[in-house]
């Protein structure tokens, strides 16, 4: 695993997230549950907890956007870049952006929103890309992941716990 230079991390254990807008690829409740499930992946192995807010600035702002969306890192249409996220901190930091030119799906027939969201939230919490191909934080999307048996790799767990420690006993 790798953390960002300077090891930015959240200095609090309770974080807020806000789903700013929605992709039209999925029903809203499917987006809500994919995001919730993706955050729970990290919640289960750290002291961190997440709660959703519907207005104001959240720690993790979640948006779907295409091409130029105002942060100097344009998306590139279908394929290639799927999403990106920013390390912990104020403002855009901690936020996660998803390329709405992808076909977001509940399963792996398109681009699975849960898998990509879980990876991006790893960045939102302070993890960089891992060189371990088995890790969720490996940069290349693995469409053959078995969603039913998905678990964080030990590399991911060791990485996030190097920042926040394990969950309370």
């Amino acid at each position: 695993f790798r953390t960002f230079p300077g090891m930015p991390k959240w200095r609090k254990t309770h974080l807020t997230y806000r789903i700013v807008n929605y992709t039209l690829d999925l029903p809203r409740d499917a987006v809500d549950s994919a995001i919730e499930k993706a955050l729970k992946v990290w919640e289960e192995v750290t002291p961190l907890t997440f709660s959703r807010i519907y207005e104001r600035e959240a720690d993790i702002m979640i948006t779907f956007a295409v091409r130029n969306h105002g942060d100097f890192f344009d998306f590139d249409g279908p394929g290639k870049v799927l999403a990106h996220a920013y390390p912990p901190g104020p403002g855009i930091n901690g936020d996660a952006h998803f390329d709405d030119d992808e076909q977001w799906t509940k399963d792996t027939s398109g681009t699975n929103l849960f898998l990509v969201a879980a990876h991006e939230f790893g960045h939102s919490l302070g993890l960089e890309h891992s060189k371990n191909p088995e890790a969720l934080m490996y940069p290349v999307y693995n469409s053959s992941t078995d969603l039913a048996s998905f678990r964080l790799s030990q590399d991911d767990v060791t990485g996030i716990q190097s920042l926040y420690g394990p969950p309370p006993a």
Binding site: P5, F73, F75, G79, K80, V81, L82, A83, H84, A85, D99, E102, T111, V116, H119, E120, H123, E128, H129, K131, P133, Y138, P139, V140, Y141, S143
Partner: protein, 82 residues
């Protein structure tokens, strides 16, 4: 002259490789035609860095495995920063 299929594919590939190395592996941007410098040591070094990071065989060349990975969907956060 319009490029023929193979030449156009080659140029598309070079485009993809150049952007991949610039966006994710901090290759310095350079106005020179990328195809001409792909065998230069800075580019070879970046290809090796990318192959090593992604667990590929480190050849420094744009072999089929390397090009295949570059075509796969991925996260937009760089793998190697400045």
């Amino acid at each position: 002259h319009p490029l023929n299929g193979a030449a156009r594919d080659e140029e598309d590939s070079m485009d993809l490789v150049q952007h991949y190395l610039e966006d994710y592996y901090n290759l310095a941007k350079d106005a020179k035609q990328f195809a001409k410098r792909k065998d230069s040591s800075p580019v070879v070094k970046k290809i090796q860095e990318m192959q090593k990071f992604l667990g590929l065989k480190v050849t420094g060349k744009l072999d089929s495995d390397t090009l295949q990975v570059m075509h796969k969907p991925r996260c937009g956060v760089p793998d190697i920063r400045e």
